[in-house]
Amino acid sequence: MSTTVLRAQNIIKYFTEPEKFQVLKGVEFEVMKGEFLSIIGKSGCGKSTLLYILSTMDTDYEGLLDIRGERLTGKTQNELAAFRNEHLGFVFQFHYLLPEFSALRNVMLPALKLGKYAPQEIEERAMDKLRLVDMHSFALKFASKLSGGQQQRVAIARALINDPDVIMCDEPTGNLDKANSQKVYEIFRRLTRENGQTIIAVTHDPDFANGCDRIIEMEDGKIVNASHTK
């Protein structure tokens, strides 16, 4: 049943500013379809850096990246943008929404860009996603007028809008209280179980991590431990 949805081979990343130093030192792992994976590690060990590479936004690295069996290393920015739009969902470490648009509109934009459904249908779907994160009552509020945790939940709804195969989150519960963290966890859990979507989440929350299928632990740019929970 389990097929590989993401494969990273020997990912190496340097930062040249202020001086050249190696952040990622040959990261290698695979993720299965429907897997709920968390990446943990000390602050500054390179988790976010790795996630930007996995999300195809950062193309300045060595090594190979395949998602859904497609070799993404070496593709052009525009090809990658189209790929992200359709197959990847992303929740940033800092909740980034477009401040001039309402919560609903923020969620709708990637779907409007994809153009798979009619705008009317997209709006309904966006409402559903907002309901999922309990933000539907704020749908018409401008993103700039939402609290940090509310923005983060809208960002999660946006990551889900195109039903991507892989959802990557950088500390998705960083700004949330216990109850809401639990809720996000349950949403992710259900997405992996019911829809076969894959979640890769960087987290500092031990409870969240322990609820995942697998935990990858990083230290100083390398994977030091990969263990299945339970």
Partner: protein, 419 residues
């Protein structure tokens, strides 16, 4: 590319930064409205001066100048002699500026397809006697109907009617400035002295003004027979043929054509006669172009700056859009569209304001109306200027918006999102 989506995002951006968008738009509006006002007024002035001059200027003039021939009579009558003949200070022959067969040439030229009409003229210099003072001037004998039809003489009358010239003999109409110098009113009699020394008395039946000092302060018009009588010439005596063409731009080639047919006489086209006016036209056109280009460039830089600022402010948004799947050209589209909307809105407002002020100018009384034949400022209302204004606004904003938009498209989202 999803134009509708790009458009929606562009509109949202514009409306959330209302003041900034307004400032950018007003820059364009100012540029375009100034362009409309300038060009309407400048071309109006050009048109007015041209009309004023062209009204009385024949497109081609046919005349016979007085000249000194190279033939020496003394040499011709002593052909066999082996002597040198030295003639110091040769004088011209007592030859008249008469065009031989003038009226027949007139008929021939009138029959040509390019020609609107030919007005014959008998012109002579005279002295106008104002008591003991003699004022130099000239009298032109004209075919009144043709002069009215081709040169609008009937429309230049301040007092009296030009057709009164045909009702009596020994009657003239007089330039306004000359009449003022002479203290002459309608119905006054004046005394003139012809070049051959005859004194005559003429009656003034009208006063005209062209708004051109050289005419208004020295000229009288009369019928051809009257002037022929003053000069004691026969009815075939004519000194000028003033030709009007259907197409003024055809004047030079037509003059060359006439020159090849009629060798005995001389031709002058309006461009040569009015080189000064044409130069003035050119200078005004250049001035208009320079001022308008400057205004639009300034407006363009304004937009360029505002778009650049806009893009710097929107770095995060651009990064998010790109992270969620928007491509470089979508981003370019979003910002280029904002700039074009600013340009189009500013342009439309600009031509509206430009029209309004041009209209105000066109109903403003002209201060020198007593001298020029004009009541209000000359202003042209040509649709092409308004189309050009819109087009300039569009092109300027396209250029001003393009480079910042390209830059926006090149923003690397990771660098922004990483913080």
């Amino acid at each position: 590319m999803n134009w509708k989506l790009v458009f929606q995002i562009a509109v949202t951006h514009l409306f959330t930064k209302k003041r900034q968008s307004l400032v950018a738009m007003l820059g364009v509006t100012f540029g375009i409205s100034m362009f409309i006002i300038m060009i309407s007024f400048m071309t109006g002035v050009n048109q007015f001066l041209e009309d004023m001059a062209m009204d009385n200027t024949p497109h081609v003039r046919l005349y016979k100048p007085i000249e000194i021939h190279d033939r020496k009579i003394i040499a011709e009558s002593n052909k066999d002699a082996k002597n040198w003949f030295v003639v110091t200070h040769q004088k011209p022959k007592n030859e008249l500026p008469r065009i031989k067969n003038g009226f027949r040439i007139m008929q021939q030229i009138e029959a040509m397809p390019e020609v609107l009409g030919v007005a014959p003229q008998v012109a002579t210099q005279v002295f106008f006697n104002n008591g003991p003072v003699q004022i130099p001037g000239n009298i032109a004998g004209v075919d009144v109907k043709k002069q009215a039809a081709l040169f609008g003489l009937d429309k230049k009358m301040d007092f009296g009617d030009v057709y009164d010239l045909m009702k009596g003999s020994d009657v003239v109409i007089m330039g306004k400035g000359l009449a003022a110098k002479m203290g002459v009113k309608l119905g006054s009699r004046i005394s003139i002295t012809t070049p051959s020394g005859n004194n005559l008395s003429l009656k003034v039946v009208g006063i005209f003004s062209f708004g051109i000092a050289t005419y208004d302060e020295s000229r009288c018009y009369a019928t051809i027979p009257t002037v022929q009588k003053i000069l004691q010439k026969d009815p075939s005596y004519v000194t000028d043929l003033n030709i009007k063409l259907h197409d003024i731009n055809n004047a030079v080639p037509f003059r060359l054509k006439l020159e090849s047919i009629y060798k005995e006489v001389y031709f002058e086209d309006w461009e040569k006669a009015n080189a000064g006016i044409l130069a003035g036209d050119k200078i005004r056109n250049i001035l208009t172009a320079v001022v308008c280009a400057t205004l639009l460039t300034v407006a363009g830089f304004g937009i360029y700056n505002i778009m650049n600022m806009n893009i710097i402010n929107k770095m995060k948004d651009i990064a998010i859009l790109k992270a969620t799947g928007f491509q470089g050209r979508d981003i370019t589209g979003i910002f280029l569209m904002q700039s074009l909307m600013i340009g189009i809105a500013g342009g439309i407002l600009g031509i509206g304001i430009g029209f309004f002020f041009s209209y105000l100018l066109s109903i403003t009384p002209f201060p020198e109306a007593t001298f020029f034949r004009i009541k209000t400022f000359p202003v042209n209302f040509l649709p092409i200027h308004y189309i050009a204004g819109l087009l300039f606004g569009f092109i300027t904003t396209l250029f001003a918006g393009y480079f910042p938009s390209r830059r926006a498209a090149k923003i690397d989202p990771v660098q922004i999102i990483r913080g």
